[in-house]
Symmetry: C3
Subunit: 335 residues, 3 copies
């Protein structure tokens, strides 16, 4: 029983109103879910086994507070579903889990890689989570931590895949933390038997809290496909300001350079601003402004949030080089 | 974590056996879910923010205790999924929520608009809940409370819809309560881009506890479609008797007048009786008898319960003017 | 609310790595869910009503810890969803529930009818659970208990069926327990309107703990279809050894005799070994070895586990009389 075994139940409900104007479309005003944090219900447990060993698990189900639907039509516990064994040498997690890149994204920009204002979130294509994974987390090595993940399965919310080598994922990450300083680096290669290429991504990011109130963030990430259909670099620079009181502000820019030309190709840039006002530890109001510009023949980007809106519901410009402007105002409640 | 944040988990499991005889069909005997109260699991939370402000949420998932299925194939939290902010001027709720009419229905007849015995429940077409809604609840104004709701989305358990003005809902309601007396009034208009009409409904209802044991209920509601394909008035009159002990009884009549003629049109009337016997505060046995008569060429009604049985599983008479008789015996357990 | 009403929440997450080599296929290495116990989340409650009466319920949802998916695409609470009323004369359960055979299976072999090592689990075709059931459990009659179940609905994880007599299930069971001794017997007949036969199954099983560490198990079960397309007998013999410490071992054989010949027919036999090492009361490591041999033209069996892997994902030999070898290593965590 949960009560006897130290299991913690937790949740987030984050619902916002937004107005998005994309070139070539009538502006859309709507209510949507998961702008700043992904709406979810979760259970996590941890048990000391003696001798420095421990076991644990997380089961986390994403959902949408605007219409009550689950966040993933293919999975109940779409966000995390793993069991772990750990000890002095680190922790192994077995099951569906967040990628190392996902954990880093939140530290790579001043928006915690959330809201429509985060260009990093809107333009970097790394999958947030993977089925059938074995993940390794090193202990803290004097500020340095290492992660590795191997998996055979579907990424993100895609339908489950056969666990063959043709659907393999490999990810490696290193992070260094020192008071006021954060450095992270990530490499991944993702195979999918249904796609004619291997995707490779590498990224680095850093943040520096240079005064008690100001933190600056920078990140860079490259994406390549082995069949030569993608070769992009994404850069992000952002600033966060925290008041003594309940207000935090973030401002940032992200720019994408595309080394290829032709249909669907071109650069992009986004300017974003975000404000969060804490009504309590558990409840916040937040707002975001985003201006996303695409160039040449690119028109695949959308303004998303903490949890990616179902692709069918994302608002994209039908025009090559189409611009998208967004504003959102939301309520975040955690429990 | 829930334990720290005052979240309450709750649930209902309500399962019954029924025998339904509809003209033109062999009688059906089966086990079904949600006769008196909709079977569900829910979470609700409320947080004081200081200064008279508060936030809160409800996540409520309907399910069927006869086969373990979810109540809505399109939504996990199909009954309620909203976050709220409130203060001295009232409360705003954002997300999927019950309609004002749904809240009123339970006060409009002696059956709490549940079991097969409630003609009001079987014949009044107002949707119980709506996606992507902004709801407003006034504070108590000397016994008077007001509700308003605007939404763009699907009603009931229908598949999610685009949040366009063509899928708009607008609802207004007023209620007055005084010891022993209840008055309610409701207006709604529901647009659905896939339907060639706007549905408009207006209803009023009242109850009066004229002795400690007896309460009389009356209600009237009209429904019209803007394309002229529906123009009906529904009337309901019912009586409730509560013993000092565990027994409560309800008796009632409801009648539908159809101003149109032709295929599918005609009046209807239902006589119903209901008994609830409380084994404890949390557990009841209940039974209901229903006689539903349809006239002329009407044959769309069915005997439903607290949670509408999936339309495909509802038992309707294939004959114009077909009658339906039902009896049900159930167990209700709340936790 | 749960906290006030003595409801217990509980769960299991069981995830394993396996390598399965089936004749005619390349060996498969993968991560999968529910080797030793079915991964699940559940709620159970029990309420004393006074006068020796009690009510209760169980809602239990199976899930897969490898990819977070629900265990049954048709049902949220696919494992159990029932409400009960009980008293001195026994208990009635109403809803989706485990079959008497399911409860017995775990007592019929040394593997608790789980992991790939259990031939009984892999080869006996009785359905584990049924929709729309009325189940009766007698009180303890001096070591003897009786169960009966009637239902109209789908078995296992199949899509819900109409509750007609053509989809009827009838099951009867008796068990006797005495310190160190267990005897069980079961009869069932299962109708499905979509199938051209009635399935009948009868089984008996026993176990005897003949020294504090050793228990021997034996079982036999027959299956027949009324259209003459199945007539098989399954025999199982197994041994369990429990150390004073955290280790338990099991070894066993199961053999199937097929009285029919032709396409799909033939005998089969399995040898299995299983080890469970308890890291704590709640967490175990386990491993299993299985050698399943099919003869003549049989090739329908697979190595499954506590919760049957979705049929589409089960690994079967495409060859008549194909053999399957499996090894699995898993982590089981209960909470």
């Amino acid at each position: 029983a949960w009560a006897d075994s130290g299991v913690t139940a937790y949740g987030v409900i984050d619902t916002f109103a937004t107005r998005i104007a994309a070139d070539g479309l009538a502006p859309v005003t709507r209510i949507d879910a998961s702008g700043l944090l992904a709406s979810r219900l979760g259970l996590r447990g941890r048990e000391a086994l003696g001798g420095g060993l421990r076991s644990g698990f997380v089961l986390e189900a994403g959902m949408n507070g605007d219409d009550g639907s689950g966040a993933d039509g293919n999975r109940l516990f779409n966000r995390q579903a793993w069991v772990s064994l750990g000890g002095p040498l680190g922790e192994l997690r077995l099951g569906r889990q967040n990628t190392p890149q996902f954990y880093m994204n939140g530290k790579f920009d001043a928006f915690t890689s959330a809201t429509q204002a985060s260009g990093w979130n809107n333009m970097y294509g790394a999958p947030p989570r993977i089925d059938n994974a074995v993940g390794y987390f090193s202990p803290d090595l004097g500020g340095l931590t290492l992660q590795a993940l191997v998996a055979r399965g579907a990424t993100g919310g895609a339908a489950p895949l056969d666990e063959t080598a043709a659907n393999r994922n490999l990810q490696l990450a290193a992070e260094y933390e020192h008071p006021g300083l954060y450095l992270g680096a990530n490499y991944q290669q993702v195979d999918n038997a249904a796609l004619p290429y291997r995707a490779r991504r590498a990224s680095v990011g850093a943040s520096w809290t240079f005064t008690p109130r100001w933190t600056v963030f920078g990140a860079a990430g490259g994406e390549r496909r082995s069949d030569g259909t993608q070769r992009t670099m994404l850069y992000s620079l952002s600033l966060r300001w925290r008041a003594d009181g309940p207000l935090a502000l973030a401002f940032g820019w992200a720019g994408l350079r595309d080394r290829l030309t032709g249909a669907g190709h071109g650069g992009a840039a986004e300017l974003g601003a975000q404000a969060q006002y804490r009504l309590s530890v558990r409840t916040s109001l937040y707002g975001a402004l985003a201006r996303l510009r695409q160039y040449d023949r690119r028109n695949n980007f959308a303004l998303v949030g903490a949890a990616v809106v179902a692709p069918a519901a994302q608002i994209r410009s039908p025009l090559p080089g189409g611009a998208i402007d967004g504003v959102q105002l939301g309520v975040l409640h955690t429990f």
